[in-house]
Symmetry: C2
DNA sequence: CCATTAGGTTCCAAATATTGAGACCAAGTT
DNA sequence: AACTTGGTCTCAATATTTGGAACCTAATGG
């Protein structure tokens, strides 16, 4: 009673199961879900049934596995167009890419995680983990930290509670205090670095996208590998980066702006 | 009792509302949804509430509008990777693009509609309506007709019932009979044409992707404008196209294959 | 400037859908 | 052949959803 936190009935539970399947990231068996979810057999079974014939999941009869359904990609298309910064930012990202020629990510906050909503690929073949639609932890990425640093106290509190502080590398922030300490630094600099905090050998510089009323709605980063650039080198991109975030912020303010998570 | 057709309780209804919002394709007001949905005020309100704080919808307080939520793009990423043909087909599409240098679409069936799950853009600046995640009617597109033509009787029946037969252009099939008649032709040819049936000035050639057991799981099309090619010209792509669909079919058979809608 | 209305939100008892223990079934293992 | 493991089905108890109507609030108009 002191911590209900969630009160969304059947629909909420069903969606929880979708998340579960999504998290696994591959087709998954009934029994596997049975242990990770808290539900009894019959209940889980019915949810799976419902979600499957709604097209939110797909069921492979032969392998007897569940995977995410195609209806989601249809729905997501609409989400991407209407609720993400991607359409507003597209032209500006194109321009930024031409200017600096490195990998660029456009990210927003989704339930305490960083969600990549668009990107431009470096011409050099170099893959980061990030693809459009992919998520990453907020506490150890440039895009994540810079959004957190500019959040309102209320939203920040909620987001911090959602951080698991998984220590990916030696430089990853391991607790709330350490992370919060960096925020002041980020705010006074106007941008954040990722110092190989998520992936060994990958660094980035990220700046916040602010609405004219001061609200953060997302961020952009330029990411590269330590074999090609140092943090100092990345700092050279700062003017171009801030110019881009400024423009996107302006555009998003006048345009239909998305409500943040 | 004679035609329940849908029996998915609360979850089904909630998802129906998501579809509703997606269909509008722009942020939408409460009152607008109230008339298109069948639900009473209070009920709709609660659903919107639930979906919003689940991140499936986003609410713009200022404009008082609902739009699709970012959680969907996160979930869809997983769907696209696990349940679509896109990952299996990626390399083959790349190759096909190099070979013929025209716009290519990879499509699957989703609830009676054609869903584009990937594409390769022609180097010539030429935009079709199709983007990844976008949907189109099945009865008037090459990718749609060719999938229908190879479906099992049972699945076909279901799909046909979902066709609205909107007459986009002069050549669009206007009824079930006319459409069915073309299926034999398609099957004996092994591919389908789109004769400006969806968009004036856009034609395409499409071939089915078949699992080794004969089941259709998707299709590929090469689309172009009538100012650049004729149907005869498109037919020249047939060998390359069939080669690609064959390979994708093989790959999909051995690989984790998605369950069709 | 008050009256009126349209768009949203909240309440609550009745109607309905969800829930889960356990029975059941199929297929593979020992 | 008995035994597991993985999955599906049934049914009564229970919790949730439901929607009419009251209630807000901010616009609109007279």
């Amino acid at each position: 009673m002191t911590k209900p936190e969630k009160k969304d009935g059947t629909v909420g539970k069903a969606l929880e199961i979708l998340d579960l399947v999504a998290e696994v990231g591959r087709p998954v068996r009934f029994s596997e879900l049975l242990v990770t979810s808290q539900h009894p057999k019959a209940t889980l079974y019915r949810f799976l049934q419902t979600l499957t014939n709604q097209g939110m999941l797909s069921y492979d009869e032969e392998k007897q596995t569940y995977a995410m359904g195609l209806r989601l990609v249809r729905l997501a298309h609409s989400a991407w167009q209407n609720s993400s910064l991607a359409p507003v930012a597209a032209d500006i990202l194109d321009q930024l890419e031409k200017e600096i020629g490195e990998t660029i990510h456009l990210a927003q906050m989704e339930n305490g995680q960083v969600l990549f909503v668009d990107k431009r690929r470096s011409s050099v073949l170099f893959e980061t983990l990030a693809q459009t639609g992919r998520v990453a932890p907020a506490h150890c990425t440039g895009v994540g930290k810079v959004i957190l640093a500019y959040m309102s106290a209320e939203r920040l509190e909620r987001a911090l509670r959602q951080q698991a502080f998984v220590p990916y590398t030696a430089t990853t922030h391991r607790d709330r205090e350490s992370l919060i300490k960096e925020f002041e630094e980020i705010r006074s600099a106007g941008f954040a670095f990722d110092r190989e905090e998520h992936e060994q050998g990958i660094i980035s510089i990220a700046a916040p996208i602010l609405l004219n009323n001061g609200r953060v709605v997302g961020s952009i980063s330029v990411a590269t590998s330590t074999t090609r650039f140092t943090l100092k080198d990345l700092e050279a991109f700062k003017p171009a980066l801030l110019n881009a975030t400024q423009k996107i912020g302006d555009a998003a303010t006048t345009w239909q702006f998305p409500s943040p998570s």
